[in-house]
Subunit: 96 residues, 2 copies
Amino acid sequence: MNFKPLDPLLHSELRLAVMSMLIDIEEAEFPYIREQTGATAGNLSVQIEKLSAAGYIEVEKTYKGRRPCTLCRITPKGIEAFRQYVEALQDYLHLG
Amino acid sequence: MNFKPLDPLLHSELRLAVMSMLIDIEEAEFPYIREQTGATAGNLSVQIEKLSAAGYIEVEKTYKGRRPCTLCRITPKGIEAFRQYVEALQDYLHLG
DNA sequence: TTAAACAAGTTTATAATATAAACCAAATTA
DNA sequence: TAATTTGGTTTATATTATAAACTTGTTTAA
């Protein structure tokens, strides 16, 4: 019981998947995230922008050869938010 | 990785809180659930109806003295859905 | 050398969802 | 018997998620 509010930015299937990946591997390119999550490009683009706007990830736009390449990296703020989200969820899931 | 889809009926803060309570205590009255979750009556009513329509809970309308009393009880289907939801979430949270 | 197909995203329109405000009926209290 | 409270439901609105349509530039094929 004692349900703490869940960060609505993380309580979203796709955004949570993205954050989960980046916690593991620190940074990843847009197409790779797309493959791993199975998301459409449009949806992923929107959700990445939200995470970026919140400061949970940084987005670096570079080039790979002459093609554009969007690199996503988790930030300390993102790591901490993820940690708190997981902690809050424990009370809902009967795990912690 | 390998993100399984999350049951959208359970991936909702309030519905998850309700299910979490009912997993613990099996059944509870509407006003009690309302207090524990801090939800408004309208919101809770809608979410309970959704859980009921999915067969995750049963709603029994009785009386307590002469006042109406809405009793919510988790079903086997609800218990199983909750279990699967928690299992699927493990992959997102790095816990299991 | 240009037309067609592809890559890597973004923008935008729509569908789905969550939420609270407004409402209703019955019971209790003043 | 009028006002208030209890126990909700209905409905209108705000928020969110999602995919379709689009853009920009690149590579491939004719």
